[in-house]
């Protein structure tokens, strides 16, 4: 398990991570979303032991990651800005990885190269952005690491390759109980990939939840009654939002879906419908409930 406690990282006068706490359980895909400068990349670099925390700690299974080769051998980090040796190809890079990662599997490397259909002897400098990302993914997954950290995972990948990477990640998580931490600007991207999601803003996690909980505990109800009514009619239901146009109301409800349905049906509505929420909508309403002036930020994320 990755535990982050009171983590702070400053760059001169700029505080990139400010007293951040979180824990990432084993065997899950943990997504992080946030705007530019929210601290996603810095957090990943702190988790992977690249940066030294100014305060607080990052531990993996109880051991600090910074300057701990044994722990770092269990994790692999794919940064947003990729690095390859000058004039190298995939085979050469695989040699580098196999020199330092004890669990690097050449067999898996070959499999992945053939899956991605990349030429392992071609100069990586000639690869497109997406192909370079694929190459980095192949190398990272070949390390058989317990923790895989991806920064801007799907950046530059076409939809087919995105799905392939996602499937490979699922496979690793399922078969080896690996843990993946991935970041993205796009909530939509993470929505169908992650088990848990965290929203970072100004160096802190302002919201963290399991995706299934988010989607099932928050839903939209459209309801209409004969005669006039107002918000007070639903006082027995936990609502995050209420709007009414004519006789039709839209409610964002948090709670048990069946129980809510039973309660409303008992009121004899002339129209009753429960609609699922997209992850963006869930985030907007949750943020509103927490009192964040967040709509602008989230719009940026969603876009």
């Amino acid at each position: 398990m990755i535990s982050v406690n009171g983590l702070t990282k400053r760059f001169d006068s700029f505080t990139a991570i400010d007293g951040l706490n979180c824990s990432i359980p084993e065997g899950c895909i943990y997504g992080m979303v946030g705007s530019n400068g929210a601290g996603k990349s810095t957090l990943l670099r702190l988790i992977s032991g690249i940066y030294k925390p100014d305060a607080g700690s990052v531990t993996i299974d109880g051991e600090k990651t910074y300057e701990n080769a044994a722990v770092k051998d269990r994790l692999v980090f794919v940064p947003d800005e990729l690095y390859f040796l000058p004039r190298s190809n995939l085979v050469r890079m695989a040699k580098l990885y196999s020199s330092v990662y004890s669990k690097f599997s050449t067999e898996r490397f070959r499999e992945l190269v053939s899956t991605f259909r990349l030429d392992p002897t071609a100069n990586l400098g000639t690869f497109s952005k997406g192909m370079r990302r694929q190459a980095a993914t192949i190398l990272a997954l070949s390390c058989n690491a317990d923790y895989i950290l991806f920064d801007e995972t799907f950046d530059g990948l076409d939809p087919v390759m995105r799905n392939l990477v996602k499937n490979l990640l699922y496979d690793d998580v399922m078969s080896r109980r690996a843990t993946a931490v991935i970041t993205s600007h796009s909530l939509r991207e993470l929505e169908d990939t992650c088990d848990q999601l965290a929203l970072l803003h100004k160096g802190g996690i302002i919201f963290e939840s399991e995706i299934d909980d988010l989607k099932t505990s928050l839903f939209k109800v459209q309801v209409a009654f004969e005669g006039d009514y107002d918000r007070s009619k639903f006082s027995s239901i936990e609502m995050l939002s209420f709007s009414k146009k004519g006789s039709v109301s839209s409610l964002i409800v948090r709670g048990d879906r069946d129980q809510t349905e039973a309660t409303i049906r008992a009121m004899k509505p002339i129209l009753f419908e429960i609609l699922p929420l997209s992850l963006e909508e869930v985030f907007v309403y949750e943020m509103d409930a927490l009192g964040y002036e967040f709509s602008d930020v989230l719009k940026q994320e969603v876009n």
């Binding site: 300057e67 770092k72 990729l82 020199s99």
Partner: protein, 704 residues
């Protein structure tokens, strides 16, 4: 997984350096090829045994180039954030990363050095050219240590900086600045004292031997500062140990800095403002030191204030330029500016320090009972040669007697009397020796002491009482020797040496010293001395020795004349015949030379030297031909001889310009004996030819 070494990472960096390693190795092999070709071309020659400096040349260049290049390449990732992040994400501790990288860099350098060394030694072994293998081994060990030093210094700079520009300047500063400052201090000390203090021996810090890689800075030794630095003594074990310890210290510092280095510093100055400012201070110093020297040596020009201000201003410009290049920020450069005062302060400190050191060193006073004895450090003659060649004196006696301690009471008394500061004013005495004084308490003191003639002679006399010293003075060199005798090839030289050695043993001690050249006064003015030249080595020490071959050693000399005739007389006769033929054809593509030396008991005297060059512009320049024909006829018909008391030596040199390769037969020598009558005629003919030739020559030049 070791905390200090990661095998996989080491292999990776080694692999990354494969191409530059092979390129640099290839270039080194080219140098070796040149040396090999040169050695094969000189296979029959005898030349001085290469000194440590000669042998170290290619190595030093290799160590500098590869030390900088390989280390910068290996740590190139420190200069870019994404690259730095990648490497720091790898499961390798920073200390292991540092030592694995250093080892990979050093392994490439060691492969180059050792590969070159083995092949270089093989070339000498195969060609049999003069070579001191033990000294070469010391040079190689020194170069291995020097590699460690360079890599350590460059690594410090890489760890402190995050940009290529600062890395490069920083590395040069870390590597050279301490030695440069010490050398400048040495220059200051040397400039303000009267040659009493042997600066390089004042402290090991002033001795370039103790920092092998900084020793090339001794190029700063200019004329008057000749006492600053000696050539590196590559066989100095304590210097090797010192340099190794210093190098390891550099690596320890580099490792600590590397471990402490913030990953996010890539692309910026990792050590913040500190390292940049130190570098800028160093950049600002050199011209200030020139100003310091002008003040110190009381050598200020008439417009001193202007020159002083100009030097300060230029230094300040350098300081600011460096700062602005590093920071790319006018505001930061403005903030750096006050630090220029530190440059001024440091330069002033060096000036003051030099005065203090001289005062302190010259205040030494010793009583005879404080002295255990003294050693000679180079003779006066070799000190004299130092000024012009920068080379150590390498006469056999000087080299071999360096380790002999003279302990008699009288010598100690003279040394004690003359070592105090008063003897500086006696510098006009002319008789000085350089000594290492072994004190009963405290470390050895090196001084040039100035003596009266009586004292000087007394010390010489007392030294000769030392059995070992006297033995070395009189003995034929006992090390591994390479012999060269004038006009003889290697085989004949070796044969002659056998005779020489036998005869040498029969000489009196005085005569043994007397036959040494060029120091025997009665032969000093001669231009023509046939000599036996010995180049050799005893352990790590190289030496040379030269002996005259003349009538004082009759058997050797007679054998020498026989050998000359055997080797070169046919060529001489052939050349004389060809000259006769030229007298008919007047071929304009031919030049020749006839030289005649007369033997007198006091040595050789050049009697006649005639040169005829090709002369296409003159219609009939050869009016002297009849006399020349007669002279040649007498020379040809004279009998060859080995009579050491009565002979002439004739040298001939005939050259046809149409021949691409010069034949060995073009050069001839013969020792001949003439009757008194022939000798008189020869003298007349020589005078007649000279007269005609010179008139003609004058007319020729006047026509221009």
């Amino acid at each position: 997984m070791n905390k200090f070494f990661h095998k996989g990472f080491f292999k990776e960096i080694f692999r990354q350096l494969l191409v530059p390693g092979l390129i640099c190795g290839g270039l080194l092999m080219l140098v070796l090829a040149v040396i090999a070709l040169d050695s094969f071309a000189r296979i029959a020659d005898v030349f001085p045994v290469p000194t440590g400096k000669n042998m170290a040349g290619p190595f030093i260049l290799f160590v500098y180039v590869t030390g900088f290049l390989f280390t910068f390449l290996a740590y190139g990732w420190l200069n870019k954030r994404s690259n730095s992040d990648f490497y720091h994400s790898l499961p390798v501790t920073r200390s292991a990363m540092y030592f694995s990288t250093s080892c990979a860099v050093l392994l490439w350098m060691f492969i180059g050095i050792l590969g070159f060394a083995v092949l270089r030694a093989l070339v000498s072994l195969v060609t049999g050219t003069p070579f001191n293998y033990l000294l070469f081994l010391c040079v190689v060990i020194n170069m291995l240590i020097a590699s460690v030093e360079v890599v350590g210094a460059v690594s410090i700079s890489c760890a402190l900086s995050g940009t290529r520009f600062l890395s490069l300047f920083g590395a040069a500063i870390v590597l050279f600045m301490p030695r440069l400052l010490l050398t400048v201090l040495s220059l200051f000390i040397d400039g303000i004292q009267n040659g009493t203090l042997i600066v390089s021996k004042l402290s090991f810090l002033f001795d370039p031997s103790y920092n092998i890689i900084g020793s090339p800075l001794s190029w700063m030794r200019l004329g008057m500062f000749n006492m600053i630095a000696t050539d590196v003594d590559y066989a100095n074990v304590s210097a090797m140990v010192y340099t190794l310890c210093y190098s390891l210290l550099l690596h320890a510092a580099a490792c600590v800095l590397f471990v402490k280095r913030r990953s996010e510093a890539a692309g910026t100055n990792a050590a913040g403002n500190g390292f940049r400012r130190i570098a800028a201070i160093c950049i600002g110093m050199p011209l200030l030191l020139v100003l310091g020297a002008l003040i110190l040596f009381d050598n200020l020009p008439p417009n001193a204030a202007f020159v002083g201000l100009l030097l300060i201003a230029i230094s300040f410009v350098f300081f600011c330029l460096f700062s602005i290049i590093c920071t790319k920020s006018g505001r930061k450069t403005l903030r750096d500016m006050p630090w220029f005062l530190v440059s001024i302060g440091a330069a002033a400190l060096l000036v003051l320090a030099s005065r203090w050191i001289v005062r302190y060193a010259q205040s030494l006073e010793l009583a005879p009972e404080d002295i255990k004895g003294y050693y000679l450090v180079d003779s006066e003659d070799t000190a004299y040669y130092d000024i012009y060649t920068g080379a150590r004196g390498d006469d056999y006696t000087d080299v071999l007697t360096e380790d002999i301690k003279f302990t008699d009471e009288e010598s100690r008394r003279i040394i004690a009397e003359r070592i105090d500061s008063d003897s500086v004013s006696a510098s006009n005495a002319g008789n000085s020796i350089r000594v290492r004084v072994d004190r009963k308490h405290g470390c050895d003191v090196y001084r040039r002491i100035f003596l009266s003639t009586r004292e000087y002679n007394k010390l010489v006399e007392l030294r000769m009482l030392n059995e070992r010293y006297a033995e070395i003075c009189y003995e034929f060199p006992k090390g591994v020797n390479y012999y060269a005798v004038d006009n003889l090839n290697m085989h004949y030289s070796n044969e002659l040496v056998k005779i020489f050695k036998d005869e040498y043993e029969t000489l009196s001690d005085e005569m043994k010293v007397s036959v040494r050249t060029p120091y025997s006064p009665e032969y000093y003015d001669q231009s023509e001395i046939h000599s036996l030249l010995i180049y050799g080595c005893d352990g790590v020490k190289n030496y040379s020795r030269s002996y005259a071959i003349d009538a004082r050693m009759p058997r050797t000399y007679a054998a020498y004349l026989d050998m000359l005739n055997e080797l070169h007389s046919r060529s001489a006769i052939k050349a004389l015949n060809e000259i006769e033929a030229w007298g008919v054809t007047k071929d304009e593509n031919v030049s020749f030379d006839i030289r005649i030396e007369g033997n007198e008991l006091s040595g050789y005297v050049s009697l006649w030297d005639f040169y005829q060059g090709s002369d296409p512009n003159s219609d009939d320049p050869h009016e002297y031909v009849p006399e020349l024909f007669e002279l040649i006829s007498i020379l040809k018909n004279a009998g060859l001889t080995n009579d050491i008391e009565d002979h002439l030596i004739v040298y001939t040199n005939y050259y046809d310009y149409r021949e691409v390769i010069r034949s060995a037969d073009d050069f001839g020598i013969m020792a001949i004996k003439l009757s008194d009558e022939d000798m008189d005629r020869v003298r007349e003919l020589m005078a007649a030819i000279d007269a005609k030739y010179h008139v003609q020559e004058t007319e020729y030049w006047e026509s221009y």
